[in-house]
Every structure is written in C-alpha cells, then in structure tokens.
C-alpha cells in the first residue's frame, strides 16, 4: 500500500482541465448530427506526416507519433459525418449554438470573454483527427470557480472539437469512427492548486454541476473527461489525460505524487554518482551474440526465429537503479518498459533482474562483455522487429538522460485502478497554428448582452426546484441533478402519477446499486427505463418489480423489458382479481376483524401482500384493502 502524502511538504500542485461535450444537434464545424452511429459502412485509409509549424520547428510530440508510421483506417456513416470529417472539405462556420454554450459557461465562471476569437489548429497526429490537428479556440481567460469554501482560479475556457472514436488497433493500423469527430467540447482549464486529492474531486464535481446548469451539455459515460496535471517540488508537469470517472481523480493524484517523488529520489541518486548526461547511453546490435546460446527464453527464441533483432543498451552508472524501488511499484525499469511498449515491443529485460526468465548467467556475461559493462553500469535488452527495436533503443537512452533531471514532462493515461501509464511526451506550443479556413470571430457587445440576458438559473436553485415541485428530499434532488437522468426524471414524473421520490431513487440509488454489484448498467437505456415506468403506470406490474427488471437487463439476461418481464414471470393482477383475493382473505379472517376492527389492517395487509407482492402496487393494495375492510365492518 502506498504511504499517504503530505501535499504541502512535497509542494504538490494539481491543475484540472475539464472537457465537457455540448449537447448540440449539429457538430462544431458542420451540420452533421451529433450521435453515435451503429453502422459505419464507408471506409478509407490515410497516413499522417509531421508538419512545419508556423515557426518552422517540427513539434516533438508530432514527430514521436510519426515515428510509429501508422496506417489509419477511418469508418463513417453519412448520418453522422460528411466531407468535413473526412478532411475532404473546408470546415463550415463555427456552430453558433456551441459558441453560445461556451460563452454562457464563461460568463457563469466570471471569465473575461475575448474580443476576437481565433480558431487554432493543434497538431495531433495519432490519427484521432483526420486533418492531423484538432481545431480549438480560447473563448475567455481568467475567472473563478467556487467549490464550497474552496476558490479556484480559471485559466482559460476553450471551445474545441472532440476526436474520432478509437475502434481498435491491429498490425500497426488504427481504426477510428468519425461519428464523434467534430462534436463540440468546452474545455475549462483550472489554475493549479495545492489541495488534497479530495479537494480535487470536489472541484471537479462543482464545475460539472455548474456546466450542467446550462442544460445544454451532454450526459453519460465519455461525455465529460478530466485531464489532471500534476507536479511536485516545482518540477515538470505530467498530464494525465482522459480520466472519465470523478472518483478516480483522488487516486490518480496520489499515485502521480508518489511516482514523481520516487523519480526525484532516483535523480538525486544519479547526481550522487556524478553521472554526466552526454555519456549516459550506448546501443549495440547483440543479435549474433545472443543467437550463439540455445534459446530457452521465449521472447528471444521467437525474435531469432522470425529474423528480428536483439539490441543491448548500456546505461553508464545506472547499476542497481533500474530495479531500485523508492516507492512500492515504482521503478525506472518499469518506466522504460512502458516507454518501449509505445513502440510496439512487449517489454524489456534489464540487468537488475538478470539472470532470470531463462536467460542464463553465461548469456548475461556475454552481453556484459559485448557492451563493455563496468561494475556500476546497467544494461537493457530489447527484442523485436528492427524498426521497433532501434526506435526503442533511442527512446530508452533519451529517457535515461531525462531521469537525471527527475520527472520528464509527459502525457500519461489513467489505469482502471487509479495508477497512470505512459502515453507520449507532452506536446509543446510549437504544435499550434491558425486555422486559416475560418476567419476570426468578433464578439460584439450585442452578443455579450444576449448571453447575459439568457443566463440559466444556478444549480442550487435548480435543486431547490426539484425539492419544491416534486417534493424530493435535498439528497435525492442533488442525486438526480448529478446523475445522467435529470431530463428523464422530469419526463417520467410529469407523464405518470408514480411518486417522484420513487422515480428519483430508482434512477439514482437503484441503478448505482446495480452498477456497484458489478453489472453493466450501460445495457439499460433511457427507452427501457421509460417503458418500465409507463407499464407500472398502466398497472401491468408493480413498483416492486422495477428493480428486478433493471437487474435482468443489466445482467444481459433479457434484451428487452418484455423479455425481462416474462423471464422473471412477473404477471400483474387485474383489479378484479385483487378484490377477489382481498375478499377471500377478509372472509378467512372474520374473527380477527371482529376482535380488532380497523386495527386489523396491518395484519391483513401483510397477508394480502404475501400473496400479491410484485404483482400489484402496494399503494393500490392498501387503498383497496382499507375500503373493503370498512365495507366488511359495516
């Protein structure tokens, strides 16, 4: 278990960047519908090249991606993409709906809206944009977010296009769907603060609530993503990209702080050893050396059989430091392994762990001799196709040099358990240049006045509205507001006579409970939920059956509500049947009724419910029983 950190002592700074999809009908730069297509019949392949930015320097991150020399396959459907997404037509004007939402959020955060907005191209050549860049624009600067007692500065608010949806990757070909490309996103970049991981979570929650108050932002998994920028001791910033779940933020901050502190320790140790950057690494082809041995190691065996290469990299003065674990689970050897995976290798072997993995002492000695390893040196072995091995060797040497400085500035991704993993080096500002196909947008006083006039009510008053109109408790109202079902809740509450608190509890607590039990609640659609409540309203089955039906859908036992109903043998009973059952029970208990009068109700209710649970609504049963009991007493 990782030891807890003291944010102040290690000068932990965390900056959040929140990306929220806008729920607009059209996309940001064309009139295509904004939704996920089930079928993607159109298909084409492209290659992207690094480019000269306007300042004449090739961006390092762009080059890095290019070195992987990927083919990209795009798939699209005319219903959700057009020639703009395929990069076959210039972008249309910026969607005024999307711009309005961005300007509204800026105003709510007291951010200073720009006089003239310039659309930029941010080079991204991993294939997630057909153009090779993401179109993005700052709409405002500065501002402040209140999260309870905590005040956090706003740096910038931007409007940008979402990337294409990654479908998969195989044999060096990435496949993307174009339906999500060009969907408008608002990005709010908050100033770095030195709060606790819990504070970060509260800040993200507060910002999410503020954005949802516009009622024009998308909901559901993947519609809001957080980037978490972490630095310690005033060092380089590491960006953790695409954290989808709020409750992971705290864990990620904690892990990153630990990891970065560990890297600082390694750097201190390297400095103690007086290692110079210029003579850190040396790479050499060891394929022949290693081929001489009988190959028990599976990786080497396979590489030699397939005419691949084995490279050795000598790291001067790194002896013992690749396996050194200043914090549990954090080792330079592991960082290097993550790095070479980026180039398509499965991993690496290093001197601190050898001999092992059926690599013999004799082999290790041969490698040491060939690489001229001195007692204080370390080495790394890389095996695979020549292209990947040679690129990896260069990257390993560069990473070793960076280790001297401590924390390299890189982009990492979250793992499901709240750790982080290397994705690519952090891009610099050289990757930005103007989107010349769209002229700058002047924000006039008239536009600002219109935004000011149509500001939404605050989220606090929206919660108050839920408590007043639907008699929800404050807790339930908050849960509904924070959930993905706020609109669905109002829809069902208005169209049925089912108690709103039951609807709210189902949409929040019941569904969350099913998810926590490990079932896939994404299988439950809004259409399913509405159908269930409408059938309850019609008396086809009782409220008590709602949860089992939802569970059945989430478990994948039934594809539709009707299937779930028949699978669970839920049958509603008609009013006549209910009356018949109640009459029978009353007749059987006439002695009790005579003795207790109306006080017999609770005992009788229990008996009736035992027979009709799940088939008749409790309220209806109680009402009918009370009437029949009165009749009987008369």
């Amino acid at each position: 278990m990782i030891v807890s950190i003291d944010p102040a002592r290690i000068n932990l700074k965390v900056g959040l960047e929140i990306h929220q999809q806008i729920a607009s009908r059209a996309k940001l730069f064309c009139s295509c519908a904004n939704f996920e297509s089930k079928e993607l019949p159109a298909e084409f392949v492209r290659k992207l090249r690094p480019t000269q930015s306007e300042l004449g320097q090739i961006d390092a991150a762009a080059l890095f991606e290019f070195q992987k020399s990927r083919t990209i396959r795009y798939r699209a459907n005319d219903e959700s993409a057009c020639l703009v997404e395929t990069d076959e037509e210039p972008p249309h004007n910026v969607s005024s709906d999307a711009l309005e939402v961005a300007l509204t959020i800026s105003t709510l955060l007291k951010s200073r809206i720009l006089d003239e907005i310039h659309v930029m191209r941010k080079i991204v050549i991993d294939g997630s944009n057909t153009t090779g860049f993401q179109r993005t624009m700052i709409v405002s600067v500065g501002g402040e977010l209140s999260a309870g007692a905590l005040k956090v500065g706003v740096q910038t608010i931007s409007l940008e296009e979402d990337a294409a949806r990654l479908l998969g990757e195989s044999d060096g070909t990435r496949e993307y769907a174009l339906d999500r490309l060009c969907v408008p996103l608002v990005e709010v970049a908050l100033a770095p603060i030195s709060g606790s991981p819990k504070d970060m979570q509260d800040v993200a929650l507060a910002l999410g609530r503020l954005m949802r108050s516009t009622k024009k932002v998308a909901r559901g998994l993947g519609t809001i993503r957080q980037d978490v920028n972490v630095s310690v001791m005033g060092g380089k910033v590491v960006e953790v990209k695409g954290v989808q779940k709020l409750d992971l933020i705290g864990k990620i901050v904690e892990f990153e702080a630990q990891r970065q502190m560990a890297l600082v320790k390694i750097s201190e140790e390297l400095h103690k050893r007086e290692i110079k950057e210029e003579d850190i690494g040396q790479q050499k082809d060891l394929t022949e050396t290693i081929s001489k041995f009988s190959q028990k190691n599976q990786v080497f065996r396979k590489v030699i059989d397939t005419k691949g290469y084995i490279y050795g990299v000598r790291l001067n003065g790194f002896g013992g430091l690749l396996g050194y674990e200043p914090q549990e689970g954090i080792r330079l050897g592991k960082e290097l392994a993550d790095l070479v995976r980026f180039y398509g290798l499965g991993g690496l072997f290093h001197s601190d762990e050898l001999p092992a993995y059926e690599i013999t002492e004799a082999e290790v000695n041969a490698v040491k001799e060939s690489l001229q390893i001195q007692s204080n040196d370390a080495f790394v072995l890389l095996a695979g196709p020549i292209y990947q091995v040679s690129l990896s060797a260069g990257a390993v040497i560069q990473r070793a040099k960076d280790a001297l400085k401590g924390v390299p500035s890189e982009t990492r991704g979250p793992t499901p358990d709240g750790n982080t993993r290397f994705i690519r080096p952090r891009p610099g500002s050289a990757r930005m240049y103007p989107e010349t196909d769209i002229p700058p947008i002047v924000i006039t006083k008239e536009i600002l006045a219109e935004i000011q006039e149509s500001l939404p009510t605050s989220w606090e008053s929206q919660i108050e509205y839920y408590t007043k109109k639907y008699q929800l408790s404050e807790k339930l109202a908050m849960q509904v507001y924070d959930s993905d079902f706020a609109e669905l809740f109002e829809d069902i509450a208005v169209t049925t006579t089912i108690p709103p608190s039951f609807i709210a509890a189902t949409l929040t607590e019941t569904i969350v409970g099913i998810a926590r039990a490990g079932f896939d609640t994404t299988k439950i659609s809004n259409v399913h939920i509405k159908e269930i409540f409408l059938r309850v309203e019609k008396g086809e089955f009782a409220k008590e059956s709602v949860q089992p039906i939802l569970e059945s859908l989430a478990k994948g036992e039934a594809p539709s509500v009707s299937d779930a109903v028949s699978k669970l043998s839920i049958k509603g009973i008609s009013n006549d049947e209910l009356i018949k059952i109640i009459s029978t029970i009353l007749a059987e208990n006439s002695a009790l009724i005579k003795l207790k009068g109306e006080d017999a109700f609770s005992a009788l209710m229990g008996t009736v419910m035992a027979q009709v649970r799940g088939r008749a609504d409790g309220h209806l049963v109680s009402k009918t029983l009370r009437n029949k009991l009165k009749e009987a007493l008369r």
Binding site: F44, V45, R46, K47, L48, R49, P50, T51, Q52, E54, L55, G56, Q57, A62, L83, T86, D87, E88, E89, P90, R112, L114, D115, E116, I117, H118, M120, R121, K122, I123, I125, T130, T131, G132, F133, T136, M137, I138, V141, G142, T156, S158, G428, S429, A430, R431, M432, Y433, P434, T436, P439, P440, V442
Partner: protein, 443 residues
C-alpha cells in the same frame, strides 16, 4: 513590408504609439484581463479594431484596441520565419528529375497577410520537407513562378513550356508543381506546346496544403517524381490521388483530365478516357499501352506561343448573342462555344456566329455535358451551325479545346492549317473511340 504588417487605422495608431513591432513580446492590459504574448501580424482583410497576440500556450487571441488600457513591451521578439531543413544527399546512380515550382497548394504555407494558405514554399523548400524524394531520383528544383493557380495566364504556360524544353536536354523527367484550380488547363497547354518531347512531364498539385499533417502533397509529389523518373513513356501527364485513400495515385493524360470536385483529394478525373497508369508504394503500373515511348530530347523545341484573344463561352437559356458580337468587335480571334447536348445553341445566335466566321474567327463547338462527343449532324440546329462554319471538336474537353485554339492561333499562321490542326488529334485530346466504360467507371 512594414514592422506592423497588416495593421491599419485604429489598431495601427495604438501600436505605433507604443513603438511596437510584430514579434515583440508584450503585456497588454485590456478590460479586466492581462494578455502576455508575441504580437502577430494582422491578416490583410481583417478589420482595424483588433490586435492579435500569440499567447505562451500557442493560442492566438484578438484584443479590441478600444479596450486596451496599457501595453508594456517586455522583449523584442523574432519575426516568424520559415527555416528549411537541410537538403538530403543525392544518389548519382538515380534518374535525374527536375522539379519546377509554380506556386499553388502543392507548394504553400500559412500567410499572415491574408490568414490564408498562400504559395510561399520554393520548390526547394518543398523538396526539403519530402525527403523520400531522394529515394526515387536525383532532384534539382527551380522556381519558375510563385503565384496562385487562378492568377496563371497563357504567358506563364509559355514560360513553363520553355523551361521544360530546356530541362529536357539533360533530364530524365520533369515534375511541375501547380495549383489545382487551373492545373488541367496548364496540362493541356503543355501537352500541345511540348508535343513530341521525349521524356515524361508530370504536373502535380495538392488539395490539402502542405502545412497540415493530412496533406496529400507528399504522396502526390513522390508518385509524380517516381513516374517522371522511371516510367517508360513520354508526354504530359497529371498525377493526383485516385481515391480519398492515401494509397493509389492516378496518372491522367494531360489533355483528358478535369478538376471535377472543389475540394476532394480525388478531384481530378479522366474524362472520355481512362487514367493511363497508377503509382502505388512508389511502383508504377501502366494501364494504357499505346503511349508515346521515351526518346532523346536533345534537339527538342517547344511550340510555346498562345494567342490570348480566345474565349470559351457557355451557352445557356436566355443567352444574348451580343456577347459573341462584342468579342468579334473587340478583335478576338477565336471562340469555343460550350453548347448544350450534342453541341447546340439557340438559333438566335446564328447571325452573330456567321459574322464571326466571316471576320476570320475560328469558331468551334464542344459540349457542356462534360462527358460524351459533340455531333452536329443529328439535329437541324446542328446542321445549320456546321453550314455557318462552326468546327465540331468531337470528344474534346471544353477547357482543352480553348487551350488548343490558343495554341493553334499562336503557332500556325495559315488559317486553313489552323482549322485542320484544330480538328486533328495532336496530344490524345481527340479520340474517335468512345470507351464503353469511360463514363460509368466514374460513377
């Protein structure tokens, strides 16, 4: 070029007051916010109310000058400039190819003046950003001109043709980077002017500018150079994407190709003919086998003159013959009519046409259908036009017909000879064989 490029009026006044130049690192206080960044030039057609800053994070922002409270100059900056990477080494055993730069999107980068993509790369700069070119040929580059393709005139074709004729003495192939808007006109012009040349001359463009990672320029250029260096044929061709994919590059006849889409990569299509070859992964596959072979070009001379007093006129319902009369009065020497269907215009035009022919103008007929052949003997309106002296030009493209008439009038003084050559196939522009699949393969 001043120190405050693009600024005028109020914004120029404010910046001058503070003694600023483009590139300076400045701190601007404006209505409740501070902006720190380098001062950028203003796009030429933008208003005079804003100044533009590039912030440290790379974003550009516009600040209204009336909101400016103060500007502080923090440092002098460097003017944005383009630095070419070093030239790659050339392999002396490879074929020699000359790349001629003319401007246009194949050779362009961002321009602060208009905020638009602008021809600014010299052919050398282009070569430097496509290092793969060093693999297929020893390349020498030369800028013939550097203008938008829509600003090209027949005099530019003359210049390019003469440059090609000169290069043909010592090179194995020529590649011409050209803006796509008028590339098909230029390829037709060079097909005639360079008729009989012994090496391939390949025009190439791009539909996505070279400043973007998704540009089609590199693949088009690499394929064009490959074809120019190694194809066993001579003549003038156009090399562009065969489909939206970055896979296959189609090689079209210079006289049979047309830009048929405003923006797609595969905008260029062969009309009334098939593309003659394609290049895939730097390999050439020839589809049409009766193309002229390579031959020595040491004594080759171009017929490079073009008569500019020639008009291409599209007929439409409501067309006023006064347009034809005006051309005659203003001394035009030829008219290509783009008629309807098989080659028709309203009979109301007949007098004007008669007058034009009488005054010695060449009057020819093509069809606005784009695909297919004109045939003036089918309907009486057509037969009347034939009788008036209108020359039907078979399955030629209207644009090619225009260029050919300019060339005929520019290089052959004898009127009867002009008429004969106009109707004779010179550079595959006229084919008497109408391919069955020449149309449906496109759709």
């Amino acid at each position: 070029m001043g120190e405050l490029t693009g600024y005028r009026g109020a914004s120029l006044k404010t910046l001058s007051q503070y003694g600023l130049s483009v590139g300076d690192i400045i701190l601007v206080k404006a209505k409740g916010a501070e902006f720190k960044g380098s001062l950028l030039p203003r796009y030429e057609h933008a208003d005079d109310k804003h100044i533009v800053l590039k912030l440290d994070n790379g974003y550009n922002v516009g600040i209204e000058v009336s909101n400016v409270e103060s500007i502080k100059k923090l440092a002098e900056g460097q003017k944005p400039s383009f630095i070419s990477p070093p030239l790659p080494k050339l392999d002396p055993s490879l074929p020699r190819v000359s790349i001629l730069g003319t401007g246009g999107t194949i050779a362009s980068r961002i321009d602060y003046k208009t905020g638009a993509v602008h021809p600014a790369f010299s052919a050398e700069e282009l070569y430097a950003v496509i290092p793969e070119l060093a693999r297929c040929a020893q390349i020498e580059t030369e800028a013939v001109s550097n203008i938008y393709s829509e600003n090209m005139t027949p005099s530019h074709w003359t210049k390019i043709a003469e440059a090609c004729a000169k290069k043909a003495q010592s090179k194995d192939g020529i590649v011409i980077g050209h803006g796509t808007d008028t590339m098909a006109y230029a390829s037709a012009a060079l097909s005639f002017a360079l008729h009989g040349i012994g090496i391939p001359v390949v025009l190439v463009g791009s539909q996505r500018s070279t400043d973007r990672p998704s540009s089609d320029a590199a693949l088009n250029m690499i394929s064009a150079a490959t074809f120019a260096a190694r194809a066993p044929v001579s003549g003038v061709y156009v090399a562009m994407h065969a489909a939206t994919d970055d896979a296959s590059i189609a090689i079209h006849l210079g006289t049979k190709v047309r830009k048929n889409h405003t923006s797609r990569r595969d905008a260029f299509e062969s009309v009334n003919a098939s593309s003659v070859a394609y290049v895939e992964d730097e390999k050439i596959v020839i589809k049409v086998h009766d193309l002229p072979k390579r031959k020595p070009s040491s004594n080759f001379e171009a017929k490079s003159k073009f008569e500019e007093k020639v008009a291409l006129i599209k007929f439409y319902p409501g067309f006023d013959p006064i347009i034809i009369e005006n051309l005659v009065q203003r001394g035009f020497r030829g008219i290509v009519l783009e008629g309807t269907g098989l080659g028709h215009v309203h009979t109301i035009c007949n007098n004007a046409i008669k007058r034009a022919v009488k005054d010695g103008l060449l009057v020819a007929m093509t069809s606005q259908c784009i695909w297919g052949r004109v045939r003036l003997t089918v309907y009486s309106t057509g037969r009347a036009l034939l009788n008036l002296g209108v020359i039907p030009l078979e399955d030629i493209l209207s644009e090619t017909a225009l260029v050919k008439m300019m060339w005929v009038l520019g290089n052959f003084p004898n009127t009867e000879e002009q008429k004969v050559i106009l109707q004779k196939n010179i550079a595959n522009e006229i084919s008497m064989h109408s391919p069955i699949r020449g149309y449906d393969s496109v759709y």
